[in-house]
């Protein structure tokens, strides 16, 4: 996909996020929207996957370590063809296969159940290790929140990945700067994030995580990096694309009401028109 196509796809993913969270009357739009470009790049460009065969043995793996942004994952999976986009509003409803946090037994395309912060990265490390042990070429990607890296287990996993030189692993940190209680550097600063991963023997790439040129270059650089895992520190805007949600910690875990939903969708429709229609 070229940049414009990716931008259009990401805009559709954002519409799906807002629609899912509105349908759920709960959920986490802010961190889903900030990472929408990364979700889109991974599933539409980077990863070797087949929506018709979600469990294909040699597929690339993705673990959403920041599992609360399930709306982002579900929306990209739906838009990529794993299940109907029309099902997104069933998010968090009783009986829905779209659980509040990712459940690998319920949802096609979900490679690991997650949601308890700090745990997903360990599972991703296990997948990367399995590929190494079996001499398989599949790669593993995991997305973490910048608040999430306050969890100690993230650094246990990073120490192991660096030690084992897992160059088939890419850790992406969605650095939107906000967590539930406020700014990450007010709550308990994880900065400098890049230097921490460097110290754990990662190849580190700092990018604007809402810019597809930089995202594309970073993942190509990660693939070319041998002998060490890669950490992509993606500076993003929380709530990206929806004017009243941008850079607002209050939209970490809150659903829009009907009026707010209409405004949010109008914002995204406008972006879509500026990009030249919905694909």
């Amino acid at each position: 996909m070229n940049k414009l196509e990716l931008q259009k796809a990401a805009n559709e993913v954002r519409k799906g996020i807002v629609t899912a969270v509105h349908g759920a009357k709960a959920g986490h739009p802010g961190g889903s929207l900030s990472a929408a470009d990364i979700f889109t790049y991974l599933y539409f460009e980077e990863m070797n996957i087949d929506p018709k065969d979600p469990k294909k043995a040699d597929r690339d793996r993705f673990v959403l370590s920041k599992g609360h942004t399930a709306p982002g994952l579900y929306s990209v999976l739906a838009n990529r063809g794993y299940f109907p986009v029309a099902d997104l509003p069933t998010l968090r409803h009783l009986g829905s296969y779209l659980q509040g946090h990712p459940c690998m037994q319920e949802t096609p395309g979900v490679d690991m159940s997650s949601g308890s912060l700090g745990q997903g990265i360990s599972a991703a490390v296990g997948m990367a290790l399995a590929a190494k042990m079996d001499n398989k070429s599949y790669r593993t990607y995991t997305l973490l929140g910048d608040g999430e890296i306050q969890e100690g287990q993230v650094w246990e996993a990073s120490m192991f990945a660096g030690h084992r030189k897992l160059d088939n692993l890419v850790v992406i940190v969605d650095n939107n700067g906000l967590q539930i209680d406020g700014k990450i550097d007010d709550v308990c600063s994880p900065y400098p994030i890049d230097k921490k991963f460097e110290a754990f023997n990662f190849h580190v790439i700092n990018i604007d995580g809402n810019d597809f040129d930089q995202i594309d270059a970073a993942f190509k650089e990660a693939k070319a990096t041998k002998g060490m895992p890669t950490a992509i520190i993606a500076k993003t805007v929380k709530g990206k694309g929806v004017s009243f949600m941008e850079n607002n910690a209050g939209w970490h875990g809150k659903a829009p009401n009907d009026e707010e939903y209409a405004t949010a969708m109008a914002d995204l429709e406008k972006i879509g028109r500026e990009l030249g229609g919905a694909n």
Binding site: C103, S122, A124, L129, E156, F160
Partner: protein, 313 residues
């Protein structure tokens, strides 16, 4: 039982893994800097490429095992019960239990027979913790023969299994040609009509000793080995309770949430029966030799004998 052969079940664990290694190429063993103590070092020596030392980071080890299992491996994670079940509880629940992954937890150094290290390392709560996780199988082998059989059975079944092993050498009591291990099937070791003693782990041998002492006093005790705490062999427990009308449970674990509780859960709903629970009585352990502690906390033959005698009077 002075001249009976004794083996610590942690030794059995390491040996069983090594014995199964060639037959099950997907079997991998993870450790957290305790391979010497958990005895997985035996497996490491035989299959160095399939032994993964994660360093002192049990929670990460658990997540790595989860990831490995999604890629077709059969991982065993090894640590002391305190860390494998205690520190790790939420990782086991969310990264293994919730997705029902095929990860086995080999927890060694369970209970007070850890001995000299004292209360910080004596996990008397692990069965209670693991038993509450939906879909978790919980096995507490009583000796070398059973521990090895349990490891093999855990490999052969799909799904998460918690296996509890001890540090101290315990008598080999199941070394007989007709011994058969089946997950979820208790073993009737001695028939009796006056009282049922249900034991698991190290207290199985103690219960057999106690039954001999009781016999001399004219008390005919039935002894059941419940090696699988979950799923519990309710049929066997109920049949024996109906026969004797009195049940004693004995375990190297707190009486809150372990074997005693599992038996009470079953009996109180299906056939209310007076029960006496022998075990750690809502307290921490302490330093001492394994034998001293077993004696002090009444988990040896004499301790069980005395309590049962008082109960049946």
């Amino acid at each position: 039982m002075a001249d009976v052969k004794k083996v610590a079940t942690r030794e059995s664990y390491g040996n069983a893994l090594a014995e199964c290694g060639a037959e099950f190429p997907d079997l991998v063993v993870l450790d957290a800097d305790l391979a010497g103590a958990t005895k997985t070092g035996v497996f490491k020596k035989a299959f160095p490429d399939r032994h993964i030392d994660c360093g002192i980071a049990e929670c990460n080890m658990t997540g790595i095992a989860a990831g490995l299992s999604t890629c077709g491996k059969i991982p065993f994670i090894s640590s002391f019960a305190m860390f494998a079940a205690g520190r790790n509880f939420e990782q086991v629940r969310n990264s293994i239990g919730y997705p029902h992954l095929n990860v086995k937890i080999g927890a060694t150094h369970a209970g007070i027979t850890v001995g000299e290290d004292g209360a910080t390392h004596q996990c008397n709560e692990d069965i209670a913790l693991m038993r509450t996780i939906p879909g978790m199988t919980v096995i507490v082998p009583s000796d070398d023969v059973e521990a090895k059989a349990a490891v093999r059975a855990a490999i052969e079944m799909t799904g998460p299994v918690y296996l509890r092993f001890g540090r101290a050498a315990v008598p080999v009591i199941n070394d007989r040609p007709d011994y058969k291990f089946e997950i979820g099937k208790g073993v009737l070791l001695r028939e009796g009509k006056d009282v049922t003693i249900i034991a698991s782990g190290i207290t199985v041998a103690s219960a057999l000793d106690a039954a001999e002492m009781l016999a001399k006093d004219g008390i005919d005790a039935e002894v059941i080995n419940i090696h699988t705490i979950k799923p519990l062999d309710e049929e066997l427990v109920l049949a024996s309770a109906k026969k004797t009308g009195k049940v004693v449970t004995a375990e190297e674990h707190t009486v809150i949430g372990g074997l005693g509780s599992a038996v009470c859960d079953c009996l109180s709903e299906k056939h209310p029966t007076p029960v006496l629970r022998i075990g750690m009585q809502d307290r921490f352990g302490e330093s001492g030799t394994a034998n001293e502690l077993v004696e002090k906390y009444g988990l040896d033959g004499k301790g069980i004998y005395e309590k049962v005698k008082g109960f049946v009077k």
